[in-house]
Symmetry: C2
Subunit: 680 residues, 2 copies
């Protein structure tokens, strides 16, 4: 499910252009994300002091109490206030004392549970009301985002908020197979998901490269299929418990019949060809696939799912079902004979037969089924959920055929695309021809964090902050698509997420220290600000990565998107529009920095060989800086650059747009504009 | 055990002065820590390439194999090399191909196990030999520290190393009670301990503020005594297993009869006064103490220790035994009667009676006992280990009486003392009068990380890098005490430790981003470089901290020791000695930075109220910068500063040496020197 991602982008970007042109609801002071459905700004503020108190009314669940304790500790952490009262009152509060939370009942962890809340802040106090405690949790997160400061201290601005999600299924997929993701990675991402009001952890737990769950029934699955890197059942129960405590459902994925090499290491009889098998270290679509024609396969899967459906309480399980290349089936005479005997026209029909058998097994265990696009087949019962990785077309088709569906196409956050790209990718694009009923079947979407080229060191930076943009797309009204405003809020909330233990901002500097091999990494840091990883599948297409490869290079330390480059492009636009000397000076300062940094980097590289691969990129950036200074010098002058000069800059831009060390120079586009304008 | 720490320091510092004066073994290119016992530098290097291979000979234990896999991945991470071979060969290697590891047998996790190794690097290959696989693990860590780089890439310098520890007990105490330390904190600290060749995790698991272990026999211990923050038995087994995999013993401490309020919440009948009890939130020495006169107490402890000794496999358990203030005993008539009836002269004798009962219980479970100083009593059998928190005098006394002992006095790393202080604190100080037999009974020492004012966010920065200095004191020959050389190596290894997941360097910047409340934290960062937390018990003595307090302020973001301040002091010394213009310019640059930063900080504070408390400190630093510039201007001139000027600077120094917001300005001493010199 790793291939189609660009085509839809262009369509969506053009669709949304007209929306961006309209005036947006500006709320310059509220850094909320996902932005609530309705926000009314009121006069006044509620001042926070060490006297701050919290009371609960209505149904007080342990989940709500724990959430209040965590929220209060985060407030104390941000404000450094020593709250004098650390209890939760059940006897109400006096005027101006603090926060009252009232929920009506415990929320259930099911699709379409009520997640709404109302939050009212005034000088006299804060009132948070929700139907369920899950709605209450969302309201607490919104309140934490409302915190502001001025010369007199911390305060909450007076507001009246009414909020509920647009889609009921707002997920994050974490692939713990291609690279192992320790318990701690999952735990702090659950906290961050709660902050972003996401409510589904889609946990990708088996793959060619690893089987990551302890199985007591079939212990060779994890013993031989994981290099010792798997979650014990107790760890899984702990994670599910903490997720539930955050209002998050956990949907496990056991990918079958393909993507299953690691199963066959311990249980080769499940495969469609003779073993032995080894854990796969490379990436891509592999041949090994389960044998769907043997009853022993279903006996195994019946027992396997009995164990796993007891371990994972959610009403849904994900069976994968993607990217079976069919080669092993084609090469197996018995399987071909089975197809003929059963009137199965092709491999897709054979896989549908397999899926149907799975469906029956899972139904016996009271589970509903999610699978990738490929499971869509006339024989698939339509209480299943189709998970689209190939495009919104599949989503529409599924909805029209009566299936529920969720979208991940356009939300593949491992591909290092921009937050704007993901933000404008709507499960139900504006202008969609779907009926009301069909629209209702689109349950939402999931950011998908595949981990071929992400490790526990880098995974947070690939998920955050861009997943905030996806979270807003899935929560907030469709009309909210002002990209600049999104970036402004995303950068602020990104810093706030650090209090939850995420490494998304911290680890880049750490990785640069390692690359600098004992020297000052500053020159590498300066360079990295202006670089971004190449997007899409370029990396795995061009480098024979395995699970042993180092993911510690500059491209791994680079955030997926260079926000300085984005701001620089805006500055170039502004300068070309208005020619303000201040903007010119700001441009020159940046470009001078590119020029002077190169020599420092070259010195650093002399004793830091792992940085050598970015020397050509740095040299190009130096040349861009130099040429940029020349370009600026032409503005306001009669004399224009020569054709030779322009030709040289064209070559330079082409060089900057070519990946080197799997990195790009994202200011290339802005510099091209500058050069072209200088030449006119 | 939190009080005596300064007196010994002065003695040790003076003892070591003469050693520092002697010429030291300079090995300018080898950044090894703890430094090996014998190092012979040879000509040549072994160049690392993607062809690097690893082979094993002799006894190949799973522990060794896993350590090799981890070491190779760390090498790949640092060098960004894509190793073509990711297997471990058992058929030897060709010339120049790589590393051969030979161990004779699996090491046992007992005191005095053989931990030695020999490491020989030449252009033709690397050979690591050890009696036990634990020695092999140490050798791998040394090899990783040997990695160097030049213009031609990465290499290991040719060396011949013979190494073994000076002391067999080299520990780190982590207090998981005053603040909860999640599993992940323990796990990455175990990796760092292994890198520092420490071999004992002393896990402080029960306290007034929390009981942190799941007890299946007495579930109210963790259910009512921990706020839900405890280690499950499976987590404990996981941690013990990973520790064993690193060659690290795990010694649990259940502190008794005092420091036990959290036990009494669920089991008040254990206490020496009537309940009910609540989890303690404050810090200090509390009154609640077990009742040592009731048989029901021992029945409980018999069962309790039966459960816990089965859970923790090490031959030692730690019973605490410290800081019982005796108040509850004094107030309890029955306990007084018991003392009289049993001829127990005082509370110390009563506690000795209690300890003796414990001793018998633990002996039945084949455990030996460790306890703090206070357990030393004629009735205590001398196969026990005395853990000295009050001074080396107790250590000497214990050794003379035939007890084994370990030292933590002088190693209290929560007190934010300098690495130099800890480094020069020797369990057997030079000039000690102990006999050879007595010396042998000094098993080593433990860095003690108490957590009253440390949280999971800050604990790594309190442990590392300074614990490297303690690790070297306990591992390397006593003669190695060149402080400058230690700092030089410590700073480099500190960065290397980050690859193990430690947050000790990363989190300061994160905390500053939070303090900056959405603004650029640069001015706070600039200030923080020159500040250090006040040392010793000042913080808890002056602020009524509780476990709910925020530990997110500048003092918490500050590293325990300002290394820039240390370098600045050296620069002042150099300048005063030689008056080089280059040094003067360097001083002026720093001092100008102090001056100009203040205004930026004041602007930042306007919207970052949690930073307001450091404004006075910043103002003093600004004045120091200004006065420093004036001072420098007097050098080489006839005109000397006025007495009024000198008096003003004296006041300024006094102000800088007074804690503000629990922070000090550690350049004050150097500035005083500069002012004095200017006035002469």
């Amino acid at each position: 499910m790793r291939r189609i991602f660009a085509s839809i982008a262009i369509m969506i970007l053009s669709l949304c252009t007209y929306i961006q042109g309209r005036p947006t609801m500006q709320s310059p002071d509220l850094i909320l994300m996902p932005y609530p459905a309705e926000v009314q700004i009121e006069p006044g503020v509620f001042r926070l002091s060490d006297d701050f108190r919290i009371a609960v009314e209505g149904a007080v669940t342990p989940r709500l109490e724990r959430a209040i304790v965590r929220a209060r500790q985060r407030l104390a952490g941000r404000t450094a206030l020593f709250f004098t009262c650390n209890e939760i009152s059940r006897d109400g509060l006096g005027e101006g004392q603090g926060l009252v939370v009232r929920c009506e009942r415990a929320g259930r962890l099911v699709v379409n549970e009520d997640e709404s809340y109302r939050l009212a802040v005034s000088a006299g106090g804060i009132r948070l009301e929700a139907r369920t405690d899950i709605g209450g949790l969302h309201g607490l997160e919104t309140l934490l985002q409302l915190l502001q400061a001025d010369e007199n201290g911390f305060f909450f601005p007076a507001v009246s908020i009414q909020d509920q999600p647009r889609f009921p299924w707002r997920g994050l997929l974490i692939d713990a197979c291609r690279h192992w993701m320790p318990v701690d990675v999952i735990l702090h991402n659950l906290d961050a998901m709660a902050a972003a009001k996401l409510n589904v952890l889609h946990w990708h737990l088996s793959e060619d490269q690893g089987f990551r769950v302890e199985s007591k029934l079939f212990p060779k699955l994890h013993q031989l299929g994981s290099d010792g890197l798997y979650y014990t059942q107790e760890q899984i129960r702990e994670i599910i418990g903490i997720a539930a405590d955050r209002g998050i459902r956990v949907v496990p994925e056991f990918d079958m019949p393909g993507h299953a090499t690691s199963w066959f290491v311990g249980y080769p009889h499940l495969a469609s060809a003779a073993g032995p098998f080894k854990i796969e270290r490379r990436y891509g679509v592999m041949d090994p696939v389960m044998d769907p024609t043997k009853e022993t396969t279903y006996e195994f899967l019946e027992a396997f799912w009995r164990e796993m459906t007891a371990l994972f309480p959610d009403e849904y399980v994900h069976i994968g079902g993607d990217e079976n290349n069919g080669k092993m089936w084609n090469a197996n005479a018995e399987i071909q004979a089975f197809k003929q005997a059963n009137n199965l026209a092709d491999n897709h029909a054979l896989q549908a037969y397999f899926n149907n058998r799975l469906y029956k097994i899972l139904t016996r265990y009271q589970k509903k089924l999610v699978g990738w696009d490929e499971i869509l087949h006339p024989d698939m019962p339509n209480n299943s959920v189709i998970h689209s990785w190939r495009g919104t077309q599949a989503l529409v088709e599924a909805a029209q055929k009566g299936y529920m569906s969720i979208l991940s196409n356009g939300y593949y956050i491992d591909l290092c695309q921009s937050a704007a790209f993901h933000y404008l990718n709507d499960p139900i694009p504006a202008g969609s021809q779907m009926t009301q009923d069909e629209r209702k079947r689109v349950l939402g979407g999931e950011a998908a964090m595949w981990s071929e080229i992400a490790t526990k060191e880098t995974v947070d930076s690939r998920i955050w902050p861009r997943t905030l943009a996806i979270a807003e797309r899935l929560w907030s009204p469709a009309e909210r698509c002002d990209v600049d405003d999104m970036y402004r809020r995303m950068e602020r909330i990104s810093v706030q997420l650090e209090e939850l233990g995420l490494l998304h901002l911290k680890n880049s500097a750490m990785m640069l220290r390692r690359l600098a091999a004992g020297q000052d990494p500053e020159a590498a840091q300066n360079l990295l600000e202006w670089l971004a990883p190449v997007q899409g599948y370029y990396r795995t297409d061009h480098t024979p990565y395995t699970s042993f490869s180092p993911f510690t290079r500059m491209v791994d330390a680079a955030p997926p998107e260079s926000l300085p480059a984005r701001r620089f492009a805006r500055l170039v636009d502004a300068y070309l529009e208005e020619r303000k000397p201040g903007d010119r000076d700001a441009l020159l300062k940046v470009m001078d920095g590119w020029e002077s940094n190169h020599d420092a980097l070259v010195r650093l590289i002399k004793k830091a060989p792992a940085l050598r691969e970015v020397e050509p990129t740095s040299a190009i950036l130096q040349q861009l800086g130099r040429a940029g200074r020349e370009a600026v010098s032409y503005f306001g002058k009669k004399q224009k650059p020569t054709a030779a000069w322009s030709a040289r800059q064209k070559e330079l831009i082409a060089a900057a747009q070519k990946p080197n060390a799997e990195l790009l120079i994202p200011v290339a586009g802005a510099m091209e504009k500058l050069f072209n304008a200088a030449a006119q």
